[in-house]
Amino acid sequence: MSILFKGRTQGASDTRIGIVQMITAFYISHARQALGSLGELWRQPAASIMTVAVLGLSITLPSTLYILVKNTEKISAGWDQASEISLFLKEDTPPASAQQLVARLNTWPEIDSVTFIPADDALKEFQHLSGLGDAIAYLESNPLPDVVLISPNEKHASPTAARMLLEKLKSQREVDIGKLDIEWLERLYALLDIARELVSLIGILLFVSVVLIIGNTIRLNILSKREEILVMKLVGATDAFIHRPFLYTGFWYGLLGGLIAWLAVIIILWWMDSSIQAFASMYQKEFNITGLSGTALLTMLGLSILLGLLGSLMSVQRHVRGIEPQ
């Protein structure tokens, strides 16, 4: 409706069409502008490909790192339950009381299994594994203590429960030192935490730079269409109408950039697969890298589109306003 002239209708309402047709016309106009923006990109392939590639590759790096970290977390989650407690007995513990301890521990409800390794066996194993061989034989006495290995049952295998069990075991009078062998796992977790933070940091930096790059590209687009924007403003185009093609350009940049990122991640993971397999086999693990699922793809595309839109939104807000007919 006209503001100045009561009764004068403007736009689609003038043509006596139904609400359904009006809504259809709205979507048709959107689709037309969206396709128009895609056509613009197509007409300047070199510039478009460069912008899209910058966007795609900037998303590739954090995505790949993220998938690797996620997968490492997934494997280590499987190891979490396998914690084992080693109890080193006091040196002067007679074999009889050691046996008593083993028998006693076997009755504890928290414990799944108990293995006793006498000092002599431990020495033999050490001799065999260390490669020191005969040098060990020159030792006057066995420096190793008796060891009891304890596997907690499933309920008590989590790090906190296992630690509580450890405290309880340490209070047994035959026990000298108790050790929970999930420390390395905790170290791995700490490392993963750092890795995850690095991924976020790299991601944020790259995303910000992508938004700035897209913003600048759209700014140049806007400036090159100065004349057209002026004419549109003169004949009564709203800011939203003028913004729309540029926002669609941002959208297409995002979508195409996301697809490039997806392709790049597939290639990189395929490339790294053999070395990952070699690494995993050292831990006797069957390991297939995951992360290229549908959700991951959608997340990447969504993120990429969001960045494209954000960049173009920033630019149109700033620069279209400045172009006013004089």
Binding site: I3, T15, M22, S29, V231, L234, V235, E324
Partner: protein, 228 residues
């Protein structure tokens, strides 16, 4: 239709472009605005299309105070005003048809309605057969008429023209003025700024004359011209 009430305009930097200008143009009237270059004609038209805002005073269109119009409403005001300039500001990459259709596309007309109205507007300015041409292929007079078709395609109640014949020879200029008369006959208020006194002298229309930002005459054109 257009009412100026003690309007002054000072540009940043202190240049006084209009000083206490008052006049009233009735609905359905056709009037001319003349004066030397720099007398304030363009400024006066810009105040009507809200390209500039008055420093003092009120500009009213159809009783609505333009000072009350917010920035985001300006686009809708411009849909009620057909504007024509010395150069037609056509988009070179688009055909004549698409250039004329632009205001309708912006307002969201259907494709069918758009074709119908663009055809009618081009018919009125006598360029129906040029619909598929690009602006580069047109002569100066034809390009100006395309600009006019674009200004009237959505049937605005008010038509503003700033030196519409500035680039044209007398014969073409007269054709353009005849076009404006046709629109005026159809009930459109027409307000034309021009320094081409010879053109106005041949017609009996109300003429407002500006000198150094002040309105010095307002009346039929035989009274005009004496002031300079």
């Amino acid at each position: 239709m257009i009412k100026f009430d003690q309007v002054s305009k000072t540009y940043p930097g202190g240049q006084l472009a209009l000083s206490k200008v008052s006049f009233h143009i009735e609905p359905g009237e056709m009037a001319f605005l003349t004066g030397h270059s720099g007398a304030g004609k363009s400024t006066l038209l810009k105040l009507i299309s809200i390209m500039e805002r008055p420093s003092v005073g009120k500009v009213l269109i159809n009783g609505h105070d333009l000072n009350q119009i917010k920035r985001r409403q300006i686009a809708f005001i411009r849909r009620d005003i057909g504007m024509i300039f010395q150069s037609p500001h056509l988009l070179d990459s688009k055909t004549v048809f698409d250039n004329v259709a632009l205001p309708l596309i912006i307002e969201g007309y259907t494709r069918k309605e758009t074709s119908k109205r663009v055809a009618a507007a081009l018919e009125m300015v006598g360029l129906r057969d040029k619909a598929r041409s690009l602006p580069m292929m047109l002569s100066g007079g034809e390009a100006q008429r395309v600009g006019i078709a674009r200004a009237v395609v959505n049937k605005p109640p008010l038509l503003l023209a700033d030196e519409p014949t500035g680039n044209l020879d007398p014969k073409l200029s007269m054709e353009i003025i005849r076009l404006f008369e046709d629109f005026n006959q159809a009930g459109v208020s027409v307000f034309v700024a021009t320094h081409d006194l010879g053109l106005i002298a041949r017609m009996k229309y109300r003429t407002l004359t500006l000198r150094n930002g002040q309105m010095i005459t307002d009346g039929l054109n035989d009274a005009a011209g004496e002031g300079w």
